[in-house]
Every structure is written in C-alpha cells, then in structure tokens.
C-alpha cells in the first residue's frame, strides 16, 4: 500500500530524528514527511510561558481562528497533556504532502477517514519525537494516549482542554515549540501542559532546584 508505506517511512524518519535529538535539542531536529527529502519539518527550542487562560488563544492567532488540534493525554510519573495546533490551511497542506497530492487539493472542511487518520498519524509522530527527547533529558517515562482530533476555532479547542486545569488554576504553564518548514514558515505550535505537580517532577529530574 503506497499511502501506508509513506506513513511508515515518515515514522522511520521520526525515529531517526529521535536519535538526533539525543545528541542535541537545539533546534535542528527534523522530521521528514516526504519521500524525496524536500519536505522537512524543523522543531524550535521550547519556550516556557505561564499565561492566564484568557491570553492563550492569542498565541494561536485569536480565539476564532480556524485550526486543527491534535490532543494527547500523557500518563506516567509526570502526567501532562499535549496539544499540537496548526492552522486549517497548513493542515490541508500537510495532508496533501502525506497523501502525495497536488498542493491545495485537500478540502479541510470535508476530511475523509483516511485524511483524518493521516493527520492523527502526523500528531503521533511529532508527539512521540518530542516525548522521546523529553524522556532522554529527564529519564522519566511518558506514555501518550491515542490522539484525539478537533477541527474548529482555536478558542473552542482550548476550552475543552483548559477546563481540566480550571478547577485548580487560573494560569496555565505552556512549553511551546514551533514547527517550521523551510526555515521560516511556521507550520504549527506544540504545547505541553503539565498537570500540577508534574512540573516539579520534570524540573527535579532535570536537576533544576527552586
């Protein structure tokens, strides 16, 4: 199966990428999703920010920006959530890339099962890469759930996730990583949202005392 083969190839690239991540985090890790090697996605150094809930949607281009969100619940000694967000337009381009189509052929308003599955797979690859790297640094185990996919307004997607944190906090801690293609074009944002207590565990594992 051609499509499946392509996905597997992408996964292999991700695995190789993880290898590289062991050597250095500093921004040069790459996932290749294309067979010809021209479609390369880079990952930036994570930025840490503590934000009030109300400000989070602004990071994503406003609360009513149309986005695709891929969400994972991560269990283990330091439970967290992962949210990978990209604009609907960019998501369409990535699906084009994965499905070997011409640019702009994917109708993001009307995705088929296989296209949704491709998006989720992309999320799997990216989050696995990220978690492997984090695991290397912290020596902690992170176990991601299956992906959940949401396509809608940025604010609406965030609501559902932030609500879990809402019972205990008014601020959320975000580890934000940008995924870029061809050096400058931002593909998407990747957020790690540690549950209360998890941050201490992660920082302690990293040898940071506070």
């Amino acid at each position: 199966m051609k499509k499946g083969g392509r996905l597997h190839k992408a996964i292999r690239f991700a695995a190789r990428c993880t290898e590289r991540n062991r050597e250095y985090w500093s921004g040069k890790c790459s996932n290749r999703t294309g067979t010809d090697g021209s479609d390369k996605i880079d990952m930036t150094v994570p930025q840490v920010s503590i934000l009030p809930f109300a400000d989070v949607p602004d990071l994503l281009g406003g609360a009513d920006a149309h986005v695709v969100g891929i969400y994972f619940i991560v269990t283990g000694p330091a439970p967290t959530s992962i949210l990978f967000i990209l604009s609907a337009e960019k998501a369409g381009l990535l699906v084009d890339m994965l499905m070997q189509r011409k640019t702009g052929e994917t109708d993001i308003y009307n995705l088929s099962e296989i296209e949704i599955s491709a998006m989720m797979e992309l999320g799997n690859i990216l989050s696995a890469t990220y978690l492997n790297a984090l695991s290397m640094f912290t020596q902690l185990t992170f176990i991601p759930s299956v992906p959940a996919l949401g396509m809608d307004m940025a604010g609406a997607i965030l609501n559902a996730i932030l609500a879990q944190f809402g019972e205990i906090a008014d601020h959320v801690l975000l580890l934000e990583t940008d995924f870029t293609k061809d050096q400058d074009e931002v593909v998407g944002h990747f957020f790690l949202l540690p549950e209360p207590g998890s941050l201490q565990t992660i920082l302690k594992a990293l040898g940071v005392s506070f």
């Binding site: 406003g62 609406a156 997607i157 932030l162 609500a163 809402g166 205990i168 906090a169």
Partner: protein, 161 residues
Amino acid sequence: MAKIIQVGMADLKMTRAPDRLMTAGLGSCIGICIYDRAIKLGSLAHIMLPSSLQAKNPENMAKFADSAIEVVIDMMLKNGANRSRLQAKIAGGAQMFRFSGESDIMKIGERNAIAVEENLQKHRIPLLARDTGGNYGRTITFDPETGDLLVRTIGHGERII
C-alpha cells in the same frame, strides 16, 4: 460610537446599548447573556466550569457557572436593572474532542449547560433561547438594544437566537 466589547475566557463584562458584547471561540465553555431589555443593559459571562464548590481556587468568579451568574446579577441590580425583568440567552457547551474511551472531562460541555440552566432557574431568570451542544465552536455577539444573540460557527452556519 458603538463599541464591541470583547469578553475573554473565564471573564465577564456588562454594557449598555448601543455597545455590544462579544466572546470568541466558545467550545465546552458557555456564554451566558443576562439582560434587562427595558433599560438596555446587558452582560456576557464566558464560563469554563459548572461549579465553584468543587474548585480548589474559586477566586475567579467568572470561571464558574454558579458564581458568575451571582456576580452578574449583583452587578446588574447595582446598575439599575430590575430583577423581575432579567432574561437570559446562552450558547456553547459543545464537546470538542472524541476519545474512544470517553472520560468525564470530555463531557464538560454538557455538564456546563446543565449547571447554567439550573443556576438560572435558581435565580428565576427565564431562559429565552439556547444554542448548546454539538461538536463545534461558537463565536457570539450580544446586542443589549434588541436582545439578539448572534451565533457564528465554522461550517455549521450562522444564526440569531
């Protein structure tokens, strides 16, 4: 000049016509509009959670259905509203993510909607219209002049309730 006042997540605002109130990207959250049509005074609360009672930090009153409604009513009465004239419209409470094993967290939208209705009932505020549920986000604009609530969505149409 009529303004459109933005209400953020876990936030609440009050205004008079001709200004309007808007909140963008309601997912599992709910936008509660309580207004007194006679004096054209309206409010919009963007709540995230059903109840402040289970919360470990209930300081931000606008975050919870029960406390937000209380604060709004208080604020409106202080600004000349008449309790018997208060009416409400609500929108939001969607379920944005589907996991194979559905957890409680993911049903937060539904729980929010129920809590809002119960609290409105408790304060005897008639709920004139609602646009809740589904699996899509909503951006809403409330006009205290007419009492119209404009609901916009991506791919699920636009309507005034």
